[in-house]
Structures are given as C-alpha cells and as structure tokens.
C-alpha cells in the first residue's frame, strides 16, 4: 500500500530558529495533508496541497508540494514555544476515503 516517509523523526530548536519537516513518497500523490498534534492532544488538520508546485502560507508556516507531487515540506520561520508538537503528513490510500500518515516529526522548542 501507499507509504510515506517523514523526516526527521525529532527536531529540537532554540526559540527563533527555523524548522522544516519533509515527506517523501515513491509514487505520485493526488494530494497531501498536514496535521499538528500538541503534546497530550489530538491531531488537528492544518492544510491540504493538491497542485504541483503549490506553496501555501499560514502566518509563519509555509507548505510546499513538489513539482512531481512526490514530496512535500512544512517550514516554520522563527519558531515559538507554541509551535511545540508533532507534525504529520498524510496521503490518500486507494480512494479518497483513507489516509496513510507519516510517522511524524516531533518538534521541541527551547525558550
């Protein structure tokens, strides 16, 4: 079945530093979603990318979808302590009713 590799598994930064997590697939994706899970919380949808080369921004977060639609990245500029959590990418498996989640990147921010 569809698999997606997410790296790094962990990232520790100083507050104010930038952060990037990557998702890679061996097959072309129809779309990719990103979720954030705060410590002790549940995953919350952030965004969906559909078009080749798409770039979307949400304040300090920048999401990119590769030209070949096989990879994606989430970049956070000038991290804050509120950014702490685990970021997951998710891609469709089979039809649109199922998602496969990456293993996530756990971000910790040192104030």
């Amino acid at each position: 079945g569809q698999q997606v590799m997410q790296i790094p598994q962990y990232q520790h930064v100083q507050e104010g530093e930038d952060f990037t997590t990557y998702c890679n697939s061996s097959t072309t994706l129809s779309n990719i979603q990103w979720y954030k899970q705060r410590p002790g919380g549940h995953p919350v949808f952030l965004i969906q990318l559909v078009k080749s080369g798409e770039v979307k921004k949400q304040k300090r977060l920048t999401f990119q979808f590769g030209e070949a639609k096989k990879n994606s990245s989430l970049h956070i500029t000038a991290t804050q302590t509120t950014d702490v959590g685990t970021y997951f990418c998710a891609v469709p498996q089979g039809g649109s009713e199922k998602l496969v989640f990456g293993k996530g990147t756990k971000l910790t921010v040192n104030p």
Binding site: H42, P43, F45, A90, F101
Partner: protein
C-alpha cells in the same frame, strides 16, 4: 457542535477482559475511522467505515471489531484485551468528498495489564 467525542477518556483493563470504545460525531460525516497511536509508530488505521452499516479493515485490524449501526456512532470493541493493545486510540470522521480532511476526537488512553 461538539465535533467528535470519545468515551471513555482513560481505561485500565486486565488481560482477557473486554471493552467497547464509543465514538460519536455531530457533523453528519459519512466516513469514520479508528486509529491507534504508539510511540514512534505514528497513527495506524485499525478499521474504518464509509457509511452506516459498513465497516472495513485497516492496517492493524487483528484483535478488534467495529460496528456502525448509526451514522453518528462508531464503536470499537476489544473482545479479549492483550498488553500489546495498550495504546492511545483516536476516532476520526470525514466528509464523503474528494480530498477530505479528518476531524479527530480527543482520544482514549487504554492500558492493558
């Protein structure tokens, strides 16, 4: 709107005991899912449903059963709990549209001794 709710929030079982986790959503979503989350393993799909009265297996279905008798509810059953089923269980729901986002419940933390 409560969104997706799960009961109970915490549970401790002994090996061999049974229990049912209840998920309810008030968004009229067609799709519902049960995931388990273990350290370093991400979210793994146990079972899912694409509509009332339907269920299907996900990535890790063994040891679990599900039922979707009503559109708004999705039940996850453990007939004979094992320590390997110690995990955090999340329910999610989604609309039957292309590229649907999933809405997650707060989770149930289950420990099997």
């Amino acid at each position: 709107n409560a969104g997706v709710t799960q009961t109970p929030k915490f549970r401790v079982l002994k090996t061999g005991q049974s229990m049912t986790l209840l998920c309810a959503q008030d968004m009229n979503h067609e799709y519902m899912y049960w995931y388990r989350q273990d350290p370093g393993m991400g979210l793994r799909l146990i079972h899912y449903s694409v509509g009332e009265g339907t269920t299907a297996k996900g990535e890790v279905p063994d040891g679990y059963n599900v039922s979707r008798l009503k559109k708004q509810n999705f039940l996850l059953g453990l007939e004979s709990a094992a320590p390997s089923q110690t995990s955090v269980y999340f329910c999610a729901s989604g609309a039957a549209v292309s590229y649907n986002e999933q809405f997650f419940g707060p989770g149930t933390r289950l420990t099997v001794l």
